[in-house]
Symmetry: C2
């Protein structure tokens, strides 16, 4: 395996814990309004609309829109689903949508990325917009060299263009880049696009009862425990 | 003046000293080949082809090409101009073109940017490609939050789209962004696009006999001595 020049990272789930932060803000806002709901169920329901919304764009039925726009539309639908439509005005919804900019990194993320940055170009290759990735990374001190991914490519993973246009922005061949993710389907798409791959398990991304992506499901070039362990694998 | 949310920076000349580094590599390579030329004159001649090359694209006579490609073409022309065509093969030319990835920051740049980063989103809005800005910034430890500018916008400053598409990538109005540059014409274009402006003099960018951009030529919102002084102006 030739050493990669750059490492691309999935972000939601792989670098940051989206579920806890989204649940915490939902819980706080709902409590302030005197309502009672299962705020973890709300976070999961909001996130469950993520792939179907992107699929409209991947399938060509809708032109590219930043993930912030999709998150906001999905929030409206989730509030309806939970009978909260009348309780959240336009300002509340804008505030709640910003939950996605304030997600906490996993304990190994910042230390691991900092070590990996010493030898490699490191960049998110996420479905988040450039605006969202920038603010989220500033919030969590994620030390990227640049921000790539869907916002740049105007294509959502697993569309190969999301990976290929990100490689092209660095003037690298796909084989010179390694995709790091906690999701086997993301890695399968990256491999199909010609990238090297690394799996990191994040077994509580979806809570304690998670059943998917508990382990590597293919012969990815590297399987590491977390991002600090990946730094060890890559001699950083 | 409302406080900006993000600061955009010109890079060549404003954040880094391109002339010294390019001259040093030219001088070294020419010496190794046993040739004698004025390496500062070579650096200046190479750079003099920068605006005319971009103008072909701004004027619509050529489709967008990354600055690395223009630099490489301009290098061929400059080698011809100095009678060195036969002395630099394709590998030498590739090596020499990489001079633009290894430019030294001015003494105040890293400290100033680091302070400004504590309160603002900071990003290059340069004519350099994403690849070039990423490698240059890694070389000089420039702590950007993201990389914007021509490579993202596929338009060269002073085309308004270079500024406007960079603002849009952050989901900010132009008035929420301040352009920081050592070049009055860059600031004039940024102001026309609706951005706030800050002038920083870099009076030796073109060497000790520089005659242009020695001072602010309009009522820019801020005129600062250097990037650390700008941090003071903005209470960072």
């Amino acid at each position: 395996m030739p050493s990669p020049q750059a490492l691309f990272f999935d972000v939601f789930g792989t670098c940051v814990d989206w579920r806890s932060a989204v649940e915490a803000l939902v819980s706080q806002m709902v409590r302030e309004k005197g309502c009672q709901i299962d705020s973890f169920a709300f976070a999961d329901a909001w996130r469950a609309r993520y792939q179907p919304a992107m699929q409209e764009i991947r399938a060509g039925r809708r032109s590219y829109a930043d993930l912030d726009v999709l998150h906001r539309e999905n929030l409206d639908a989730t509030l309806r689903e939970f009978g909260l439509t009348d309780r959240f005005d336009v300002h509340d919804r804008a505030d709640l949508n910003k939950a996605w900019e304030k997600l906490t990194p996993w304990p190994d993320t910042v230390a691991g990325l900092s070590r990996l940055k010493s030898r490699f170009i490191i960049a998110p290759c996420s479905n988040g917009s450039i605006a969202l990735m920038t603010r989220l990374s500033k919030f969590g001190n994620l030390p990227w060299d640049c921000i790539l991914g869907a916002g740049l490519a105007r294509a959502y993973k697993p569309d190969p263009q999301a990976y290929l246009r990100s490689c092209a922005a660095l003037q690298l061949d796909p084989a010179e880049v390694m995709m790091v993710a906690a999701h086997n389907d993301d890695l399968a798409a990256a491999r199909n696009a010609g990238l090297q791959t690394c799996f990191i398990p994040r077994t509580i991304e979806y809570g304690p009862d998670q059943t998917t992506d508990l382990r590597a499901e293919s012969d990815w070039e590297i399987v590491a425990r977390d991002l600090e362990d990946l730094a060890l694998h890559l001699a950083c």
